[in-house]
């Protein structure tokens, strides 16, 4: 049994228009996706802006209303609020946000920011709480006198580490990390990613790592899913996705990553243009007549791709 199972998750937003403001259509932000997160693993969810990846993350922590489908936690349904409360789900699932400045209250001291989840879910005396906050700051490599300061006194990387400390305060089982390092410089990004890995090893935490950066995801995640237009286009292990991509959209994303290798750049560019051309010209091959992504088809034990059924038979014989 997986820690988290997402079953046919749908999140649709109504579009209202007309004189009576009636619902005329829906935005299919998340349109029937399935995936599992195992204990202690980092699962990557990749997509461009508007793909629905953040909406999925928010739905898992309970910040977004689910239209239909189920979120199972340790085999129990936690899709509605009541069950979440009973399961102590809100304590076990925490979130790290992209923008560290707007996710920390500027009028609170770091001590109060980090202690907030502890105060919500655990009963501690003031002294115990202070010791715990010091411990948490130590985990993310910050000095203990940081607890008396305010968020604006820290740099972006330090603030993001405070966000990580707050997320691990209640000993969670799963942390949803929504673009945790996108706003950071390269060297600071490395620091935050190392701390996230260190914490994972220490406390056996699972991450749902949401990102548009395929380089970072490759470093962090063993299993990942690529999301496009509210659906998953390709799911597999790191090797499946990076070395044997099947869907044109995955190929297109991979081709677009700038490589730190100036000598091969002409070749990269030619490859990128070829993939882009195929993507533009053969839309009908990869998407159905409404422009939607096909349902996922399994092509190997770990690897699934959204392809029309007749394509899959061909691929299966190739992959063996």
């Amino acid at each position: 049994m997986s820690l988290i199972e997402i079953k046919d998750l749908n999140i649709h937003y109504p579009i209202r228009s007309g004189f009576f403001n009636r619902i005329t259509d829906y935005v299919y932000a998340v349109d029937g996706i399935n995936f599992d997160i195992e204990e202690g693993e980092t699962y990557g969810l990749i997509g461009e802006s508007g793909s629905g990846k953040s909406t999925t993350g928010k739905a898992i922590v309970g910040l977004e209303k689910v239209t239909s489908g189920q979120i199972m936690y340790n085999g129990e349904d936690v899709t509605n609020k009541h069950n979440r409360k009973q399961m102590k789900y809100n304590k076990d699932v925490q979130m790290i946000f992209q923008d560290s400045m707007s996710s920390l209250n500027p009028r609170k001291r770091i001590e109060d920011i980090i202690a907030e989840p502890i105060r919500n879910f655990e009963e501690m005396t003031d002294n115990e709480e202070r010791t715990r906050v010091k411990e948490l700051l130590d985990i993310v490599g910050m000095p203990s006198d940081a607890m008396y300061k305010y968020p604006h006194e820290f740099s972006g990387g330090q603030r993001q580490r405070i966000g990580v400390a707050r997320a691990v305060a209640t000993h969670p089982k799963l942390i949803i990390a929504d673009e945790p390092v996108s706003a950071l410089d390269l060297s600071v990004q490395a620091q935050v990613l190392n701390f996230m890995k260190h914490i994972q090893r220490e406390y056996n935490i699972s991450y749902l790592f949401i990102s548009h950066d395929l380089g970072v995801v490759k470093h962090m995640c063993r299993n990942l899913a690529i999301m496009h237009r509210g659906r998953l286009v390709e799911v597999g292990t790191r090797d499946d996705i990076y070395n044997h991509p099947q869907h044109i959209y995955t190929k297109r994303l991979l081709a677009a990553i700038p490589k730190v290798n100036p000598s091969g750049r002409e070749k990269d560019k030619a490859n990128r243009r070829a993939v882009e051309k195929e993507y533009q010209e053969h839309q009908s091959k990869w998407y159905d007549k409404d422009g939607k992504v096909f349902p996922l088809q399994q092509i190997s034990a770990t690897h699934s791709v959204a392809l029309p059924p007749d394509e899959v038979a061909e691929l299966k014989s190739e992959v063996g």
Binding site: G156, L186, S187, Q189, K197, R222, V260, N261, P262
Partner: protein
Amino acid sequence: MDTSDELLLDIQHLHTAFRVHDEFFDAVDDVSLTLHKNEILALVGESGSGKSTLATSIIGLHNPRNTRVTGDIMYNELNLVGLNEALFNRIRGNDIGMIFQDPLAALNPLMRIGEQIAESLVYHTKLNESERNARVLELLDQVGIPDPALTAHQYPHELSGGMRQRVIIAIAIACKPPIIIADEPTTALDVTIQAQILDLLEDIQKEIGSGILLITHDLGVVAETADTVAVMYSGQIVEQGSVYQVFDNPLHPYTRSLLRSMPQADQDDEELHVIQGTVPSLVDMQRTGDRFAPRIPWMPASSHEENPVLHEVEPGHLVRCTCYKTFYFPDDKQPAAAGAGSSQNASEGE
């Protein structure tokens, strides 16, 4: 890049200082750079390195009351440092085009796209209205907007991020400026859109032969597009050379550390390289000795120069300070041989 290409911009000993509590602190400290026709010069560095300050100094966007700019920025016999506002207004847009990071903030939300592009044509050219409209449509077409006539009548909020950045580029190239400054032009965009915008910039450059100053923190973008690279740290250039020199044989400890901290490992138990300490703030910046020395404390003081200067290690490849000769990463255990490049060949198996 062909070195015989015409020199466009010659920056010599530029200092840009900001006033903090009645004292001036150099954010750009003695930078000398040249930009030629048909060249893409990338300026790389982390936030706080002074790369954007350098760009805004070139186009004179600093308030003289709080900023002191000294040195020379020569453009066609004209020194842009201390140039009066009236003359500068004729240069901005006409001779130097600027592309900003955040296209939504750079566009006026109350003006139609067409009017915003035409604005610089009104100011800098003698075209009449119908000629201007034709030119606007031509520009929108050139930057790859599918329906120019429709887009010209739309407002910025009606366009996607990638389309807005295309409009910004159209405005920047409206007067075919010989110099284009692009400050993090693709940072706010998705990777696939980023690739399109970078291709577009290169195509446009080929067409009008401008020199582009590309400011970015993304080493991948630099490796894919630039001809020459200057790496900045704490307001100074620490390494400079052709893109091949800098990426195939990075020498300065900062360049090597940056390349090493990029996530590209295939094993997920591998730790990323972290540069110790933090980028110093403008006020706390150490102004003597090697500014990067506090970030590499394992290197003995004797390996640094007292007053580090740029050394030419091969034609066109400049490195600040002598510490690169003995520099090694502590987790490599043994010091690397001098100038032997690094373990970063950065080729990914994709």
